[in-house]
């Protein structure tokens, strides 16, 4: 984007974000999450030493938007692949960006085990309560009663279990240095999400352990909602079940003691 004579730049894109249209649907929160990660990597000045691990889901093409070296992982295996990358290049900033089907269903074991080993990686987890890329099937995070293409009568906890709360599930593991849940439905929430993402990269920078941020997101397309309703759904239906907050921050005690 170039500035024309007479124009003044009041809000630009971070240099770490490529100047191209995304494939995300209008109103999808993936775009915000991608941008927040790009902003943090720019602020840390570490983009040239960063290796991204792409997952399989609507986020697969994130490698086209964040300008860095990337490797594509198989569906669900991003945390295992990131483990291999980080063990081979411990001097590099390594992160994954994964959806809920990817991280919490097919890749649950890889994710939990990498967290438990305390791999020095940062994991950005986009929870939109649905399988976006494959067309709106039930996810491990789908809300109770949520109708999807594979739960036409609504998610029944007696048969399908209750939605997984990954940020709380990971927080007690010793290897986890930071775990938080944020949302992207309002400016205040977006700002908090950015602070959390910064923290999740910072614990990696300090070699403290696994950094994790869950981002509650809307998927207007598969929820069959307009963007504003999908946004409202985050606030009115998701946050009551998935409370926002920091569930673990190993740097917090240090500060309290200092």
């Amino acid at each position: 984007m170039s500035i024309q004579p007479g124009e003044k730049l009041v809000f630009g894109a971070p240099s770490t974000l490529s100047d191209r249209l995304t494939h995300y649907c209008p109103g999808c929160h993936h775009g915000i999450g991608t941008r927040l990660v790009a902003e943090v990597l720019e602020e840390f000045g570490c983009i040239k030493e960063t290796i991204g691990v792409a997952s399989v889901g609507c986020s697969v093409f994130t490698y086209n938007y964040i300008v860095a070296d990337w490797v594509e992982a198989a569906h669900g295996r991003a945390c295992a692949t990131a483990t291999g990358v980080k063990r081979a290049r411990p001097d590099r900033m390594v992160f994954t960006y994964q959806g809920d089907g990817d991280l919490a269903a097919i890749g649950f074991n890889e994710s939990v085990q990498a967290a438990n080993r305390g791999e020095h990686i940062t994991v950005i987890f986009v929870n939109n309560t649905i399988y976006g890329m494959t067309g709106g099937q039930m996810a491990p995070t789908s809300l109770i009663g949520q109708k999807t293409t594979t739960s036409p009568r609504g998610r029944n906890p007696k048969k399908e279990g209750a939605p997984l709360r990954m940020a709380e599930l990971l927080a007690p593991l010793d290897g986890v240095a930071f775990s938080a849940r944020c949302a992207m439905d309002s400016v205040a929430h977006v700002n908090a999400a950015k602070r959390a993402i910064r923290k999740a990269f910072d614990v990696q920078r300090q070699n403290l352990g696994f950094g994790f941020v869950e981002l509650l997101s809307g998927c207007p397309t598969n929820l069959h909602m307009d963007p504003l309703s999908a946004n409202r759904r985050v606030r009115e239906e998701m946050i009551p079940y998935f409370p926002l907050g920091v569930f673990k921050d190993v740097t917090a005690n240090e500060k309290a003691g200092a």
Binding site: D69, V71, E72, A80, V85, Q113
Partner: protein
């Protein structure tokens, strides 16, 4: 490293070979009959500045391997057949993304949990690609502890030469057998030339992406044509051992542990005055078809011996189809045979004892 002769198991030879080949990362999950490989590496790899990770599963191992290989680092995993099953997805992604890695399969009996005894029934799994989408891996088949040592080192060179995962297919006999092994620094360690493609953080150059997804019109077709050309190019590195094939009437074709037992059986047949030779493929993919075809042209007969119900047999028949057919003698997985027992089917094809 100065050359040194030591008495070790095939599995231990694999582990020592990895370190002397410059392996920097190992990822593995326990399974018999290959446990000595991770056990030895968990000790010696960190001592040589490498990373050892006991993965949560073979799914984990394979995808960790993909990550380390993507960084242009020499990395390895080892397992047995059931573990290769779980690795297929990762292997497919490595093939598609052109990521080098070494994968050792000390195979055991199946299907299912099968047994921990020797078996060559993973031949199809190893040579037909195993995973979805038509990918192929280069496959070495060692028959001695020394070959375990040498081929694992060479496997790293081949992996980087072609930017592809390389399988080393042994079995319970090769893994557990103890033999003297000459330890030496890699004989022909090549420059990996990974600077041109590995992910490492983009620095001041353009960003890089290692991927297997190709959605644009015609892109996947082009990708597969490139990969098919690569499988063809690999034929330059085909290896085969032949013994007494020149004047042989009957050529015994066998690989791996059966290859070594067949070697003794062929020797016994020769001592009894029969013109028998041995053809032992040391690479199973690519398969030494031209070399076999050459022998078929000369009018020789063929007997394939495998510890399965007939798998390499298909490749032999394809190779010689214009000139000859092949006979087969199978030993079921889990049954141990010695050279005398393999001599009987050989002599039968030679018209009985002389």
């Amino acid at each position: 490293m100065s050359d040194e002769r030591i008495l070790i198991k095939g599995n231990e030879a694999v582990a020592y070979a990895a370190v002397s080949a410059g392996c920097k990362c190992f990822f593995g999950y326990p399974i018999t009959p290959q446990n000595e490989i991770p056990e030895v590496l968990s000790k010696i790899l960190p001592e040589s500045g490498g990373e050892f990770v006991q993965a949560e599963s073979e799914v984990g191992s394979a995808n960790m391997l993909l990550g380390a290989g993507a960084c242009g680092v020499r990395a390895m995993t080892s397992t047995s057949g059931p573990g290769i099953d779980l690795m297929q997805e990762g292997i497919s992604y490595m093939i598609g993304s052109q990521i080098p890695a070494v994968i050792v399969n000390m195979s055991r009996g199946g299907p299912g949990l099968g047994s921990i005894d020797a078996s060559q029934a993973d031949y199809f799994q190893a040579t037909r690609g195993g995973s979805h989408g038509a990918g192929r891996t280069f496959v070495f088949a060692p028959s001695t502890c020394q070959e375990c040592y040498d081929m694992v080192q060479d496997a790293f060179d081949i992996a980087f030469k072609y930017r592809t995962p390389v399988l080393v297919l042994g079995d319970a006999i090769i893994g557990q057998l103890k033999e003297p092994v000459l330890r030496h620094a890699p004989r022909n360690k090549q420059d990996d030339k990974a600077e041109g493609w590995r992910v490492e953080g983009m620095g001041d150059r353009a960003p890089r992406l290692l991927k297997s997804v190709y959605l644009e019109d015609g892109a996947l077709a082009a990708r597969n044509e490139m990969l098919e050309a690569k499988y063809k190019a690999m034929r330059a590195d085909i290896r085969v051992e032949t013994i007494d094939t020149e004047d042989a009437d009957l050529v015994v074709v066998a690989f791996g542990s059966m290859g070594r037992i067949a070697r003794s059986a062929v020797q016994l047949a020769r001592e009894a005055g029969h013109k028998v030779g041995l053809f032992r493929p040391q690479t199973l993919f690519p398969f030494p078809s031209e070399q076999l075809e050459e022998l078929a042209k000369q009018g020789k007969r063929f007997l394939v011996i495998e510890q399965n119900a007939g798998q390499m047999l298909d490749d032999v028949r394809l190779a010689i189809r214009h000139y000859a057919d092949a006979d087969f003698f199978g030993v079921m997985p889990g049954i141990f045979v010695d050279a005398e027992e393999l001599l009987t089917p050989i002599l039968e094809r030679m018209g009985g004892a002389k």
